[in-house]
Symmetry: C2
Subunit: 193 residues, 2 copies
DNA sequence: CTATACTTTCAGTAGATACTGAAACAGGAG
DNA sequence: CTCCTGTTTCAGTATCTACTGAAAGTATAG
């Protein structure tokens, strides 16, 4: 019993460990990256796990693999579903729910980017316009509008607005066209340059 | 004295308040955005302040305007200088140091994006390659490499690698060429599409 | 209906991050 | 040199974010 458990299965067990190690490495790095990009580490790790294993996992699998609590797993999984980058999955004759990641990297990226743009860029652009309105000659009078400090601020607001508007436009092309695979934009770019 | 201080200067004072309010609004929103993108709120606000006023300010100006401590102001300003998006500035006959923001939005963006790519994307790409190496047939043997779970993981690693490689390439074109103004890429894009 | 299997919620807490304020430091002026 | 003006550092603290674990909730089976 001891003998058979040590030597012979080595060829099977060691590769499994290797797979596990490789996946863990990816998961860890992905989590670290997420943390510096404003997504919390655990959520990024869960997504990485589902992505890299490419198989449906249940809550307990996730808890065990990442050493997190049930509550944390539950809420993070829900949150990832809300984002739309993982999906719930019912298995025949199983009461548990399973989860799987979207498989298309480009689609994952598009979803995240679009949502973040909507939540974080759009309000800024809105605010910039509001700031400009406050400094219109019609709001503060002709004399005041001619003041150097006002002119400088108006200039800066205008520059920023233009930059963001162009960025948005490029962005739309970048992710808007692509449901899968490389977008038209990328193809255009890689050829044109 | 009281009379002259109330009514007549209104035309001068109110516009100044308006300017201040407009700037504050911008600063606040910019700070909020920074926070969700992994840059701390205060640093983002300081940069916003220097950008929007378009004039050199000293440490005390910043402290007063944003209600932060000297220590915080000092460290955040240093950090922004390290990033290269603001500059120290010595004024003739002044002992204090002043700070000003780069004026070109495109340049600011390029600096930030390049640095973040270097710090956060590149290591991930590196890790992915490492993960792949661990799963090569030469590492884990032919039989193990043929296992379904290993093949799935290898596939996912490959997809992700390709995506990141393409993204990097596009990114290089996007910011690499531009020292100022709209980059060639943007122009190409806006025309081509 | 109750029992069972699983999921969600949330108050409390642990841990991380940002900030303050005072002390140490730097360097030019007298 | 000392004094003065301004800057940096950092230990301690406040604040915020993420996480746990247990209790409540939900749904299916029997």
């Amino acid at each position: 019993m001891v003998a058979t458990a040590t030597a012979p299965p080595a060829k099977e067990i060691i590769p499994q460990q290797q797979l596990r190690t490789s996946q863990d490495l990816f998961i860890r790095r992905w989590g670290e990256m997420g943390a510096t990009w404003g997504i919390n580490r655990t959520m990024a790790e869960i997504h990485a796990l589902l992505y890299i294993t490419a198989q449906p996992l249940c809550t307990d699998d996730v808890m065990e693999r990442l050493h997190i609590s049930r509550g944390n797993a539950s809420m993070s999984l829900r949150s990832l579903c809300d984002w739309g980058i993982i999906r719930r999955l019912h298995k025949r004759g199983e009461r548990r729910e399973f989860f799987e990641s979207l498989s298309d990297v480009w689609e994952i990226f598009s979803i995240i980017a679009t949502e973040r743009k909507r939540r974080e860029m759009d309000p800024v652009l809105e605010t910039i316009k509001q700031c400009q309105t406050m400094l219109d000659a019609s709001s503060i009078g002709k004399t005041a509008a001619a003041q150097e400090s006002v002119k400088l601020t108006r200039q800066r607001l205008g520059d920023m607005e233009e930059f963001m508007a162009v960025t948005n436009k490029v962005f739309q092309q970048f992710v808007g066209n692509a449901k899968s695979g490389l977008s038209r934009v990328v193809r255009v770019l890689l050829k044109a340059l």
